[in-house]
């Protein structure tokens, strides 16, 4: 693997993403852990017919979810507004309140975007499996519900379980606090969320970080994602 993965600028980091690509986007949904500079660069880059794989489809811009009061949220909505997304795979596509509509909902209502809804624990386990070479697994989650329709069901220890397939993507956008030039990532707080799993499950993983440091400056005990999974690191400040 290359020993310096530093990428100079967000535009560079996403410049080779083709139309039709599948992209995982980390974070739980709020500002913490969300690689929104990469999302903005992808909007400006303009690739179309994308599959976006993320916990939410962008609810903060209409609800403020997970953003400090007084700041203007940025989220996945900028891609839906720009007509770049053909398919969304995730767990929480729309705002909790029925009276609020996000850009995903508008695109969904116009039939521009397809939705694959996945229970959150199954979602992250499919991604974990995708990164770990496990093609499929069984889980009791969703057994007997419409989210299990069309899937193989087997009974283990008297309990119905649904077969779920691993999930991978062409690209993963993850967000961490610190990267070193080898691609080791350090996370803080609840901003881990889906980032560590997604970092393992894409052909090309791009990490948006607050700062990039030389090897040795991250305590090995604090490495949340080992550099072997990471292809590019790009810093929010120089």
């Amino acid at each position: 693997m290359p020993t310096n993965k530093t990428c100079h600028g967000f535009a560079d980091a996403v410049s080779d993403i083709p139309d039709g690509a599948s992209i995982m986007v980390g974070g739980f949904g709020g500002a913490g852990g969300l690689p929104f500079r990469l999302l903005t660069a992808l909007r400006d880059h303009g690739a179309r017919r994308l599959t976006i794989i993320s916990n939410t489809a962008g609810v903060s811009m209409v609800t403020g979810f997970g953003w400090p009061k007084g700041e203007k949220p940025i989220d996945h909505s900028i891609l839906f507004e720009n007509g770049q997304v053909a398919r969304f795979i995730g767990t929480y596509p729309v705002p909790g309140s029925v009276s609020l509509r996000n850009a995903f909902q508008a695109a969904f209502d116009r039939k521009e975007v397809a939705l694959e809804l996945v229970p959150q624990g199954t979602f992250v386990e499919r991604i974990r499996a995708g990164g770990a070479g496990i093609p499929a697994f069984f889980t009791p989650t969703a057994a007997g519900t419409r989210l299990a329709e069309g899937k193989e069901v087997r009974t283990f220890d008297g309990r119905a379980c649904v077969m779920e397939r691993a999930l991978r993507a062409d690209f993963a956008f993850v967000r961490a606090a610190v990267a070193d030039t080898l691609g080791n990532l350090m996370y803080v707080g609840s901003s881990r969320a889906f980032n560590p799993a997604m970092a393992t499950a894409a052909d090309i993983t791009i990490a948006e970080v607050d700062r990039i440091v030389p090897p040795g400056k991250i305590d090995p005990e604090r490495v949340g994602t080992p550099g072997v999974y990471v292809d590019r690191v790009v810093a929010r400040s120089a």
């Binding site: 913490g32 229970p119 959150q120 624990g121 009791p140 707080g189 609840s190 969320a193 889906f194 560590p196």
Partner: protein
């Protein structure tokens, strides 16, 4: 049909649910009425809150303007650390949930059936729903409590013989706490046991507001909060 007495407000529903928490319980609270339960944990009971966002043992909500974007609960609210807090990623958060390490989850509900089926994620009139972690919690938590209003805005019962809304989980609910009743879901589809009713209500009045047959607990009593 008129109510024989007022229905309890959301705080009182939450207060009654919180009486189910035991010292040392690991508890995951859903959004809505369930979130309110943390305001009413009985004195002498220490509960460790777990969140899908990757936190075990978080404290109260942060004061306005003092929170960190790197410490949120599953509702996107800024919380504060408790001594002994643990942080982890989503895979671990759901290993904890599916693996039976959560003592109690409190979830909101659209419908609960006589067999303990729960519907809470998809409102047909909206045509789209958020599933979030609800299905994993329904399948994996050791005890599932549903906190909800007994009837919807137009008066339709939410405790029903069969759910008509899409399910969150089959036969997963253990206890239902509403604004007029505490109902235990008996195992093996043995029915619904009315254990408590709101002050001024009776078995007959609760039964009338319910869409499934209730059994009367031999110790049927008014709601107790202490």
């Amino acid at each position: 049909m008129s109510d024989p007495a007022p229905r309890l407000d959301r705080d009182l529903i939450a207060m009654r649910v919180a009486r189910e928490f035991e010292d040392g319980f690991v508890v995951n609270l859903g959004i809505g009425i369930p979130t309110l339960c943390s305001n009413f944990v009985p004195e002498g009971v220490q509960v460790l809150y777990q969140s899908e966002s990757g936190v075990l043992n978080y404290g109260p909500l942060a004061e306005e303007g003092r929170g960190s974007i790197d410490l949120i609960n599953a509702g996107g609210q800024f919380v504060t650390p408790n001594p002994g807090m643990a942080l982890f990623d989503s895979a671990e958060a759901f290993a904890m949930i599916r693996g039976g390490h959560i003592d109690v989850t409190v979830l909101g509900g659209l419908q609960v059936s006589r067999a303990g089926d729960l519907a809470n994620w998809f409102l047909p009139s909206r045509g789209i729903g958020n599933v979030g972690g609800a299905m994993d919690l329904a399948a994996g938590a050791r005890k599932v409590i549903v906190a909800m209003e007994h009837n919807d805005r137009t008066g339709n019962p939410k405790v029903v013989d069969q759910c008509t809304f899409p399910l969150t989980g089959a036969r997963c609910v253990d206890l239902i706490v509403t604004d007029i009743a505490v109902i235990e879901v008996l195992p093996d589809e043995r029915g619904l046991l009315l254990k408590e009713h709101a002050p001024g209500w009776s078995f007959e009045a609760v039964q009338k507001a319910t869409g499934a047959r209730l059994e009367r607990s031999p110790s049927l009593a008014e709601f107790t909060f202490a």
